[in-house]
Amino acid sequence: MKISAFHLMPHRELPDDFDKRYESVWVTPPWWELADARRVGQYYNWTLDELLYAARAGFDGVCTNEHHQNAYGFMPSPNLMGSVLAKLTNGTNVAIVQMGATLPTSNPPIRVAEEYAMLDCISGGRLVAGLPLGSPMDVNLCYGITPMEHRERYREAFALTLRAWQAREIFPWNGRYYQLANVNLWPRPIQQPHPPVWVPGSGSVSTFDFAVENDVCYCFLSYSGARSATTMMQGYWDVVANKGRDPNPYRAGFLQLVAVAESDARAEEKYARHVEYFYHKCLHVPGVWFSPPGNQDYRSLVATSKNPVRRAENPKDLRYRDFVEKGYVIAGSPATVRDRLREEVIKGLRVGNLMLLVHIGSMPHELTLENIDLLGREVLPPLRDAWDDEGWVNHWWPERLRSPRPAMAAVAAGGA
């Protein structure tokens, strides 16, 4: 079992009436009204400190991700963050999980191949290479990529990236969207033939097919918990079986929000408002922006129009107890969180590469460290052997980090 700490790097201090006053947290939130560069500098440093703290607290990996023009999570360049993390975790067994740099917004996309190779070199071969399609808000709305070309560009860039890492000869790339006369990547990654690849998705069948055909780890980055993901992940495992792949749980990644305190009641006291902030403000985006015309192919458009996958509820109508009860957030005492993670997520969805969102919405720095600390001490250790009895190899983890982590090093006081 591998468990990584995930961070969005959100704005932590949006005004109370944010979702009433503004159209969206993404694309159009006005910087000058809502943010201050010095304060944001503090957020970035807190974020790095929190991820480094997680690395020392017993997490197997630290995850960053790319988003643009928003207050929900603004690491426009995850590799800048990953670079700091790679350097400062040298000498540890922690993976640098880039979830990651978005291919269709990187032009030419070998920029991602180069930067990932740099990270792999800096970290001594500890990189996990997330290759996301990117959200429509980022790719279509902020970066101007035509919705109908989004997936095609991604697939071309994906093939180019994999070849650029591995080719022994200099090669020309005469693609539909990218043309390069001499692809000759400097540097190349340490990990051979290439770093493990994770492909995040949000449940679309075409991404299941793509992930299984390319033998990568499919990661469902969900904010609505395991219960609502059951059918979807079963769909993924069906595709795995139908295409003749083994049911190795490490083929699947899942993101879960977690909030731990001394007891269930204390968790509510400490985290309720941060959880509500996250679902009410950080996800405040007009629904149509998630699929501008052309972003879905025709078959998917017909299917989703006939059977809209509408959530039974609007998260804006839910409060902390609803989020916890429904599993959007797994919160409570270490025992509660551990048991729910094992039953609902790890075993329930058959997940070997688990990501935990350790910082939620407006959580302050100290509370985040507390959450990470409790997770590292009391939640992660009993989960670590979850799949050991089945004997699977995690092919989607850096090879030199695959063996179980040695006994956790004590976290220095005030460790960050």
Partner: protein, 262 residues
């Protein structure tokens, strides 16, 4: 009405063409919401042989054909092949919104093909001071309010499906979304794809019509056409938004007919 599907672009792009009427040839280029044979076209068909092709990808059973085209240049060549196949040499071009841009591009590439141009709330230019609203980012109810002067009128009902008919509403939604996606492929994220470099090649006398209450593309964009074209006349249409030929079919058909001399 006649219906014919023509495969162009080495047979890879199938385009259905609806046609009716007799008289001089008139080609109608529909807008971002697909083609529906409407009273406006009926009216024109009384004086002209109207050919109304479907934009690549909007022809039923050929939704993915648009994937074979990469940009305006490919699209213009497709239309040239289509007119060739239809045996239409020189014709009047009438275009709405996105179709107005296509008509202009075709007339710029092949000046001899366009006898006269009638453009209805056309796109093709961009002004920072008068931004065109991106209809691809609206939910159906918002789009309906922005697109039509009267969001509850017959024209809106025809396009979006009558309330209460769930199946028709879903079908309309798929049709509209896909039509916006396939046309959007050629104008995302801003509908300025170089017409300003090419429009000087257009020689045909041009009528520019604009719905007075166009809430998507402000009527000031008419200036972009008049200042670049040699012989332009502008007429505003009362009681109409971005689709005046749907909200005021008789008025717009009369204006077009008067201009084309039908």
């Amino acid at each position: 009405m006649n219906e014919r599907t023509v495969a162009v672009w080495q047979g890879k792009v199938r385009m259905r063409v609806l046609s009716e009427g007799s008289g001089p040839a008139l080609v109608f280029f529909h807008g971002p919401w697909g083609l529906t044979w409407d009273p406006f076209l009926d009216d024109l068909a009384r004086s002209f042989t109207v050919y109304a092709p479907e934009h690549p990808g909007t022809t039923p059973d050929a939704p993915e054909d648009v994937a074979h085209l990469d940009g305006v240049w490919d699209l213009v060549l497709c239309y040239d092949e289509l007119l060739e196949a239809l045996g239409v040499g020189r014709a009047a071009f009438v275009g709405h919104s996105f179709g107005g841009m296509v008509a202009c591009e075709l007339a710029a590439a092949y000046p001899a093909r366009a006898e006269r141009l009638a453009l209805i709330d056309p796109i093709g230019f961009w002004r920072d001071s008068d931004r065109i609203v991106n209809w691809m980012l609206m939910d159906p109810s918002q789009l309906r309010r922005q697109l039509f002067r009267d969001p509850d009128g017959d024209a809106a009902r025809t396009l979006f499906g009558a309330p209460g008919d769930a199946e028709a509403t879903v079908a309309a939604r798929v049709r509209l979304t896909w039509a916006m996606g396939t046309t959007g492929k050629f104008i995302w994220p801003l509908p300025d794809k170089g017409l300003k470099k090419r429009i000087h090649r257009v020689k045909a006398p041009t009528l520019v019509l604009w719905g007075k209450d166009d809430r998507l593309v402000p009527p000031v964009y008419a200036d972009e056409f008049t200042r670049r074209l040699p012989d332009t006349r502008v007429q505003m249409v009362d009681g109409a938004g971005h689709a005046p030929h749907l909200e005021q079919p008789e008025v717009v058909a009369r204006m077009v007919r008067d201009f084309l001399g039908g």
